[in-house]
Amino acid sequence: MSDKNKKILIVDDEPDVVTYLASLLEDNGYRTIKAYNGKEGMDLARKELPDLISLDITMPEETGVRMLRNLHDDPATSGIPVILVTGVDPQYKDFIEHRKQVNPPAAYFEKPIDKELFLQTIRKIFG
């Protein structure tokens, strides 16, 4: 399967961020599905089994950390690579990478993202 058919789930409570990432990824040939909180995101992940998830940390209702745990706990989703895209302090990266309850994220991006690096990282993950 070529990169171009890969399906990426975008989870962020800011609609503008979702629109941005979805347009960027679609312009680069990926398919996208969108969720606006952790709960919706988890439901979609289970149903659609995306090839990659772009996940925000701080969201109302269910946070990104909670969703990471749920992804980890469900054998169907625990293998999906996750890129964290967040405004949270970079120190958080070290913290989240060393938790037992979650898989270490495949990549960590601080908002605002460097979009070339973002695309390059995704290609590398799929490569």
């Binding site: 609609p15 503008d16 629109t19 941005y20 969201m59 109302p60 405004g87 302090d89 993202i113």
Partner: protein, 473 residues
């Protein structure tokens, strides 16, 4: 003497001395006890043919410098205190008994055991001096009649001084003098003051005044008990400063976080605009333009909130009727609330005197709380929600209360609401509203508390102790 019946005369001679509740002994020049009453016998035992010093003190020879014997020389009655054995105290009075020639033939020694009273006095003395408080007794003219050592150690010599002179170096009584109230109503009163100690430093104290005879409005004296809270005040200030510093740190971190999020939106907008132009896609272009506008306006509201938070000004207090502040908020929000199906109601007004408040600042606090409450109502599953707004005074504290039966908050959220740029409103909130409120309330010497149950609603109370409200500017 004929006015008494012969029976009464007989009783005088045989019984009177035995009925008097004093130890009575009649002593001759040779210290010999020639008569003693029943009370004396029960106190000191057998006395016949014994000398007074043997009976009183178990000594073999007369006491040095015996006061009683001097009455033999000058015929003058005396009153003095004697200590017998191990801390038995006696109050003794002597009177001369004269013979027919007018010479002192005997002395009558009347004594009373005052050990219990004396011990009680000693206890009181210890309490008075050793209790970790300043104590003074003042008269109706505020003159200090008595003060303990601790008080003079801190405030200096009190002789001839009035309490307000000593504690505060004032020329007239304090406006909120609790002692004056105690003289007036015979009750106990308490208030907090700042005095000047002998070394010129500030001394914070809580004073409780009690009339010497409680409930007695004619009482001549009032006891003032002062607890020194200077140390506590200093700790309080340190804590406030530390909190303020911590808040600054959190503020900066939170601000950076908010800006990063907005920047991401701006970048998204720029991407949509530029790719829209590239693709000649008008729909995408206009979507991008909207994103830009939205995120730019977020920056401006963030900056506005941030400025109102950062204003390190002191409250500009003037006397205002707290009820009017509530009326203003009701007027401001009634329509908005009604439009989205939220009922905004007022608690029945109570009579409150005008208080020194910064009306603009309190207005900001109430605006924040009410708009939060309305938001919480919108998130509720209830068909019709209510926000209840009121102000009252309770136990010397002015309380503004905003209650809603909206969505409520769980414990985790309650813990965070006043701290960081915390918001549950996603992109809509700046997370500064309650932080600003918290700061204003602190500047008014008060605090905020929250009660909340998820699904049932929240109550926010601004508690402002009247005694700590800012001074009118």
């Amino acid at each position: 003497m004929t006015i008494f019946s012969s029976e009464l005369n007989a009783w005088f001679q045989s019984r009177l001395l035995d009925e008097i509740p004093l130890n009575i002994a009649i002593i001759d020049r040779d210290y010999l006890i020639v008569y003693a009453n029943e009370k004396f016998r029960s106190q000191f035992g057998e006395w016949a043919n014994r000398k007074c010093y043997q009976v009183y003190k178990g000594l073999d020879e007369p006491c040095q410098d015996c006061q009683g014997m001097r009455t033999f020389d000058d015929g003058i009655p005396r009153k003095f205190e004697e200590v017998v054995g191990y801390r038995e105290y006696y109050m003794v009075q002597t009177a001369p008994a004269l013979d027919l020639n007018g010479n002192v033939a005997y002395i009558v020694a009347m004594s009373e055991n005052i050990t219990e009273i004396r011990n009680h006095q000693l206890e009181c003395e210890i309490f008075f001096e050793r209790v970790p408080c300043y104590i003074a007794v003042i008269d109706r003219g505020f003159n200090i009649m008595r003060a303990n050592e601790k008080l003079t150690e801190t405030f200096g010599d009190c002789t001839g001084k009035k309490c307000f002179e000593l504690y505060k170096k004032r020329l007239s009584a304090c406006e909120d003098c609790p002692a004056a109230l105690s003289f007036l109503d015979g009750g106990e009163h308490t208030s907090t003051h700042v005095g000047i100690s002998a070394d010129g430093g500030e001394t914070h104290y809580v004073v409780t005044t009690t009339p010497l005879i409680k409930g007695h409005t004619e009482c001549k004296y009032v006891v003032e008990i002062l607890t020194d809270i200077t140390h506590i005040k200093a700790l309080e200030k340190e804590k406030l400063d530390a909190e303020r510093l911590a808040a600054v740190g959190q503020t900066v971190a939170g601000l950076a976080h908010s800006i990063k999020n907005i920047l991401m939106g701006v970048e998204g907008g720029m991407y949509m605009v530029s790719s829209g132009i590239e693709k000649d896609d008008k729909a995408r272009l206009s979507k991008g333009w909207d994103m830009l506008q939205r995120n730019i306006s977020k920056v401006s509201s963030l900056v506005k909130d941030f400025l109102s938070f950062a204003k390190g000004r002191k409250p500009e207090a003037k006397l205002v009727n707290p009820n009017i502040l509530i009326d203003e908020i009701l007027e401001l929000y009634a329509e908005t609330a009604n439009g989205i199906g939220v009922e905004l109601k007022r608690m029945s007004p109570t009579r409150i005197p005008e208080r020194p408040l910064d009306p603009d600042a309190i207005h900001t606090c109430l605006t924040n709380l009410v708009s939060n409450a309305i938001d919480a109502c919108q998130l509720s599953t209830r068909e019709k929600s209510t926000v209840l707004l009121g102000v009252y005074e309770n136990d010397g504290t002015l309380v503004f209360e905003v209650a809603d039966n909206g969505c409520g908050m769980d414990y985790d959220i309650q813990k965070k609401v006043f701290t960081t740029f915390f918001t549950t409103k996603g992109g809509k909130g700046t997370g500064l509203g309650l932080l600003t409120t918290y700061k204003i309330v602190q500047e008014h010497g008060g605090r905020i508390n929250v009660e909340s149950t998820p699904g049932e609603g929240s109550i926010f109370r601004i508690l402002l102790p009247v005694s700590r409200l800012p001074e009118i500017t």
